[in-house]
């Protein structure tokens, strides 16, 4: 079929949108190698000195990274455990109030994180003495739960439950059915949910900026604080590393679960 005018239009818009999406990332990567403190284009030579800066103690970026992981990894693991069991209860069994339960599990999505953070801040200030890590952990643990539940439900929703019965009738015990049939088939949804949940926690700033203590500051908050004082290419260097990590993640997702999971 010959190409029509309107599909040429769509193709042009699509390509422009792709360029728009990629340009700030490409610019950051190029800027990270400039030798001068002020970023010029094209860069006057090549330098890796800003990358050395990241690991220097004055930026606190490594400490921030450690803090972000200390919150994000346990919160994601716990949410996968709770979210997957919660999603199973909704999809596997028929009972009144299923829809209510799904809305309940995903309700933190509808509350602005800054509003929830402020509520937690007031509760913490009444209780007192809660360490910085726990302050942020509780907030992240709650706001990322919907991502795990929703993505798992979207897979289990179209799940063929008779496969479980088939496995049972062939002699599998409940644990075998769960780990060899249910979990592998639900894996794309669980992985996509876990990835989105972890990244939400890893990138989260609004909640952390209200709940962090001077001793416990996460990486994106460290980057923002650094930006307010110094605007040198160290920012481009740390950003490049984060961009690279995202690229690796997306390619791994593409290879192992496929990206169609993200199409709603």
């Amino acid at each position: 079929m010959p190409e029509r005018k309107e599909s040429v239009f769509c193709r042009v818009v699509a390509i422009l949108v792709m360029i728009f999406l990629l340009s700030p990332l490409v610019v950051i990567v190029i800027a990270s190698f400039t030798p001068t403190a002020v970023i010029t284009f094209p860069p006057q030579g090549l330098s890796l000195k800003w990358y050395e800066n990241i690991f220097g103690s004055s930026t606190h970026f490594m400490e921030g990274l450690a803090n972000s992981l200390k919150v994000g990894v346990p919160a994601t693991v716990l949410d996968v455990l709770l979210g997957v069991t919660g999603a199973l209860s909704i999809c596997r069994y028929d009972f009144k109030g299923k829809n209510f339960l799904l809305n309940y599990f995903t309700s933190p999505m509808y509350v602005p994180s800054v509003a929830f953070a402020f509520v937690l801040l007031q509760v913490y200030s009444q209780i007192g003495g809660i360490p910085g890590m726990a302050r942020i952990f509780i907030g992240h643990f709650i706001i990322i739960m919907p991502y795990v539940v929703r993505n798992t439900v979207s897979v289990l929703h179209v799940f063929n439950w008779s496969l479980e019965d088939a496995a049972t009738s062939l002699g599998a015990n409940p644990a075998q059915v769960f780990f060899k049939i249910t979990i592998p088939l639900a894996k794309p949804g669980i992985l996509a949910g876990a990835l989105l949940a972890f990244l939400y926690s890893f990138d989260e700033v609004a909640l952390s900026s209200l709940l962090s203590t001077p001793k416990f500051i996460t990486l994106p908050l460290r980057i923002m604080n650094y930006m307010e004082l110094t605007f040198d290419p160290t920012l481009a260097a740390i950003s490049t590393l984060l961009i690279l990590a995202s690229l690796v993640l997306i390619l791994l997702m593409e290879k192992f679960v496929g990206l169609d999971m993200f199409v709603k």
Binding site: V13, F20, L21, L88, P112, A115, Q122, P220
Partner: protein, 278 residues
């Protein structure tokens, strides 16, 4: 009965955690706010042009960002849903890749491009098109650009799913019956894709309403939206009453939008024959 018990036990850990760490604090603080003179803080908000202006700015930025995301996202999603080429896989990666990059990093990228010493100003100066650098960072335009960059992937992903599920034969049928491309779009494709448009717009609008990083970094110190104002009231002005009023008003707007959409879609779904929303 055994099955109900199992369902109950499976749902218990998540339900209890949400109850203790989410519902209880929210309700407790709401009651406390109303019990103290929280009502006067709400009255202050709605009688102070300064605060009303922030609400209006937030709504305006969110509406404009949502509108432009839809206008650019729709053709993109349509192309992705219909193309047979390998380009689709590449585009999926290109859309999801920035989507996974921190909002702080993405705003920083726009600061490097749009700053007074930035790439755009250097290029325009070198070409002799301007005499002195344009001020873009610190304006609402910069916030809208950053917001679209942040949120257009959500719009495209919402639309691709719905557009993919529309059988191309339906469009060919309309053509073969003599409908022009414009008419086919207006009478066939557009109505069928409405659920995706709606869910994409609601997602982008609410995320824009509550966004914090983009307005803070690209809007500069004088530019305020609801979320940045809450943090400023707490961390800078130490005015918890105002912060509480602003955050509950923000929550109210979000819930009102969600509620309106549920009402609108249930009516629409009934007219379309009770299909499942995408």
């Amino acid at each position: 009965m055994g099955r109900r018990r199992k369902a109950f036990l499976l749902a218990l850990p998540a339900s209890l955690s949400l109850l203790v760490f989410f519902v209880a604090p929210m309700v407790y603080i709401l009651i406390r706010t109303l019990a103290s003179d929280g009502v006067s803080d709400f009255a202050d908000f709605f009688s102070d042009p300064f605060y009303l202006n922030i609400l209006w700015t937030t709504l305006r930025v969110s509406l404009v960002s949502t509108g432009i995301s839809l206008l650019l996202g729709y053709p993109t999603a349509y192309f992705m849903a219909r193309t047979q080429s390998n380009l689709k896989k590449v585009m999926m990666v290109v859309i999801l890749f920035p989507f996974l990059v921190s909002a702080v990093v993405r705003s920083y990228g726009w600061m490097v491009i749009l700053g007074s010493n930035g790439l755009l100003n250097q290029a325009l100066l070198a070409l002799g098109l301007i005499e002195k650098p344009l001020r873009i960072i610190g304006t609402e335009a910069a916030v809208v650009i950053g917001m679209i960059h942040l949120l257009i992937p959500y719009m495209i992903l919402s639309l691709v799913g719905v557009l993919q599920s529309i059988d191309p034969n339906v469009e060919y049928a309309a053509y073969s019956l003599g409908a022009s491309p414009a008419k086919t779009f207006a009478r066939v494709v557009f109505p069928l894709s409405l659920p995706g448009i709606l869910s994409g717009c609601v997602l982008v609008f609410t995320m824009s309403m509550t966004s914090y990083v983009t307005p803070k970094l690209l809007g500069g110190s004088k530019f305020r939206m609801m979320a940045t104002m809450v943090v400023q009231e707490i961390n800078v002005s130490f005015d918890w009453g105002a912060a509480s009023a602003i955050s509950y008003i923000l929550l109210g707007v979000i819930l009102a939008v969600q509620f309106a959409v549920v009402l609108a879609t249930s009516g629409y779904m009934k007219r379309m024959g009770g299909g499942k929303s995408a």
